[in-house]
């Protein structure tokens, strides 16, 4: 009897400790049977207060702090920070350093996209693809380790340049790894586009139209899968992307399949770009000197992280510490779309939709929240509350 009462609406919490989320974030889905009728997000489990902490540390310490905003896209955060600080100090990193930064950024994109492919295949219950894509990901991890000495937080950047050089031996080993990755990527492109069982889980699921994507402020591959032209590397080229141009991958379908296709095609494009950089690596110094105190001023930079546009704002007051540092990460823009897209879908599709934007909560949580979908009056109910609510509801109905 009680089950009957509560079946009218049923809330499923997801996270913060939840296998679909490698990171904490709390989702709540109200379901009717298996259909989601409401979605709600609560972040803050990984909120550490990095922006505030950055104000109390000096410019060099901040580099290492910001690298740990996110472990998956660590390079792009320190890249953005360095660009902004260099802009404030009116210096530019030497061409060779810029090329190496972009090189690492693209390698990181490859690692991130492979990681995402595995995780989303895992969400779909396709563990074989998860295992294979992570096995292949180890190749790019080896390359990164060989280059920088660490598998995850590379700390390749220093203010004014990069820490290490790429010599011929390393270039050769990168090329060798890339050949393997290219072959595998082409294979995955086929699998993702042809496997009927997989398409059943992706085709036509979580469709976001171009207009929706623009209104919801989607960025990165999520936006590009809905045919929105937003790719900072192309529309607002920075650093070495001015010399080494990249093609924007677009798809007009806007569903999960499109997001898969866009990302896998970006892999091929990144591989092409890395080869081009290796062939035309500029000669010269690796870094320039930056003063300990950065001149007062403001700088805002926008970079293309694997997940989309990342925005850094830095204000300096002329001392050895920043006055204000603001980070806006891509996931926060894309989460908006998830909570709206989830409504009306099957509960079983939700992890896939979530994985479709490649969420990264630790990025966000440094400074953000988000919530709600419709009226904002969403209420958390425990199971017993819900039950009591149902009993009261029927008591009143009986009167």
């Amino acid at each position: 009897m009680e089950n009957k009462i509560t079946s009218e609406s049923f809330t499923i919490p997801m996270g913060p400790q939840h296998p679909a989320l490698k990171e904490p974030g709390h989702f709540q889905f109200t379901v009717d049977g298996e259909i989601v009728t409401r979605a709600y997000v609560r972040l803050g489990y990984a909120h550490r207060g990095i922006e505030k902490a950055a104000e109390s540390r000096n410019w060099v310490q901040d580099l290492y702090l910001l690298e740990r905003v996110c472990g998956i896209c660590s390079h792009i955060h320190s890249f953005a920070y360095c660009l902004a600080v260099e802009q404030l100090a009116h210096v530019e990193a030497p061409p060779r350093a810029q090329a190496i930064r972009v090189l690492v950024a693209e390698l990181e994109r490859i690692h991130s996209h492979f990681l995402w492919m595995g995780v989303s295949a895992h969400e779909a219950g396709f563990d074989t693809l998860f295992m294979y894509s992570w096995r292949d990901r180890e190749t790019v991890m080896d390359i990164l380790e060989g280059l920088t000495g660490n598998r995850v937080n590379y700390s390749a950047n220093i203010l004014g340049g990069v820490k290490f050089d790429v010599d011929d031996v390393q270039a050769a080993s990168i090329r060798k790894g890339l050949d393997f990755l290219e072959e595998r990527t082409n294979h995955y492109l086929q699998v993702l586009g042809k496997d009927a069982m997989f398409l059943q889980r992706t085709r036509g699921i979580g469709v976001m139209t171009r207009a929706q994507a623009e209104v919801l402020g989607a960025v990165g591959p999520t936006a590009r899968a809905s045919n929105v032209m937003r790719d900072m590397r192309v529309t607002a080229p920075y650093s070495a992307y001015r010399q080494f141009s990249i093609r924007m991958m677009l798809d007009s379908r806007g569903d999960l399949e499109a997001r898969f296709q866009v990302r896998v095609q970006e892999l091929l494009e990144s591989i092409r770009l890395i080869r081009q950089i290796l062939d035309n690596l500029p000669q010269g110094e690796l870094s320039v000197h930056l003063p300990r105190r950065i001149p007062a001023g403001e700088a805002a930079v926008r970079l293309e992280a694997p997940r989309g546009e990342v925005f850094y704002y830095i204000k300096s007051n002329g001392t050895d510490k920043p006055e204000r540092l603001k980070v806006r990460t891509p996931t926060i823009c894309n989460l908006n779309s998830v909570i709206r897209l989830a409504v009306g879908h099957q509960l079983a599709d939700v992890p896939m939709i979530l994985a479709g934007i490649d969420p990264c909560f630790s990025c966000n949580d440094r400074m953000v929240t988000l919530a709600d979908e419709r009226d904002g009056s969403e209420r958390l109910m425990t199971w017993s509350e819900l039950r009591q609510h149902g009993i009261d509801f029927y008591k009143q109905a009986a009167k």
């Binding site: 296998p19 298996e34 294979y132 099957q346 079983a348 939700v350």
Partner: protein, 302 residues
């Protein structure tokens, strides 16, 4: 004397201990093969045994608000059901210990008892994930049960008996996979659904609902359910291979045929994506049942 032989049949061989050990071994084979297909090394041969022993030694907490008798009783009932079913099935190539006309139906329903118990165990708990898992488990039960039953009745129809022993005897001389290929496919895939193997693991989809109906179980309860599954794996494999693959007259034949069947199932597992629960139902009722009915049509009129 008879009492002793009955007890042995129930607790040692072919029921009880033997089944459990063999079931765990088959589980290892399943996991190992899956790992190899996924390019991994996979677990060691004693892994399922270690898992079960560890679970048995682990603290069991009965959560607040559940019926404690049901909480403890359901796993035992599930295992008992599966073990009882073994008595009527030609395990390890030995003719069934007991049999009566129509025991096929009893076996099939004893096998469903496990699923039913898992569903009830989930519904008994107050955990949301368990409840969704229970709903899915029972939904899936209703979707594959009919086609699977129909597929198992195909051999019964040609053998002219609804007794497992007699069907097996008939099937030893007839490779029914050749005459009833559709039935075989449905029975094989139905078995995967019954065992909640991928791609039919929506009821315990980790990424959506944690561990499904058994989220709240730990320790002993989980171990016993696990044993129940292991036993069901063996019985299911035995049934399908003895009906469709030309019978299991002796031990080597039994081992070869059941492992072959398991190999095919593992291959399917590693190749396929998890189906959504509505897709599962669609698959069974739209294609599964239809296929078997087509099969029957040919059997009756040809």
């Amino acid at each position: 004397m008879t009492l002793i032989s009955v007890l042995i049949a129930l607790f040692v061989f072919p029921g009880g201990l033997f089944l459990i050990v063999a079931g765990l071994f088959y589980q290892w084979f399943n996991r190992k093969l899956l790992a190899v297909l996924q390019n991994r090394i996979g677990p060691r041969w004693f892994q399922p045994f270690a898992d079960v022993i560890k679970l048995l030694a682990k603290e069991e907490v009965i959560p607040d608000g559940v019926n404690p008798y049901l909480f403890i009783g359901l796993p035992i009932m599930a295992l008992a059901g599966a073990l009882t079913a073994a008595v009527y099935v030609p395990i390890a190539g030995i003719a069934p210990s007991y049999g009566f006309s129509g025991d096929l139906i009893v076996v099939l329903y004893l096998l469903s008892l496990l699923t039913l118990c898992i569903g009830l165990a989930g519904a008994n708990s107050l955990d949301r994930f368990s409840l969704v898992g229970a709903t899915r488990t029972l939904t899936q039960l209703f979707s594959y049960e009919a086609p699977f039953l129909l597929a198992m009745l195909g051999p019964a129809l040609v053998a002219g008996s609804w007794q497992v022993g007699k069907i097996t005897a008939y099937a030893q001389n007839h490779w029914l996979i050749l005459t009833q290929p559709l039935g075989f496919v449905v029975a094989l895939v139905g078995l995967m659904g019954k065992l909640e193997m991928p791609p039919f693991d929506a009821p315990e989809a980790h990424t959506e609902i944690v561990a499904g109906a058994l989220t709240e179980y730990s320790g002993r309860g989980l171990a016993i359910f696990d044993l129940g599954r292991a036993v069901e794996l063996i019985i299911g494999l035995t049934l399908v291979s003895s009906f469709y693959l030309g019978g299991v007259a002796n031990l080597p034949l039994f081992v070869v045929k059941t492992l072959l069947l398991l190999f095919v199932m593992v291959g399917l597992q590693s190749l396929l994506t998890r189906l959504r629960i509505d897709q599962t139902i669609g698959l069974w009722w739209r294609y599964g049942t239809l296929l078997v009915l087509v099969q029957w049509f040919f059997m009756v009129f040809a």
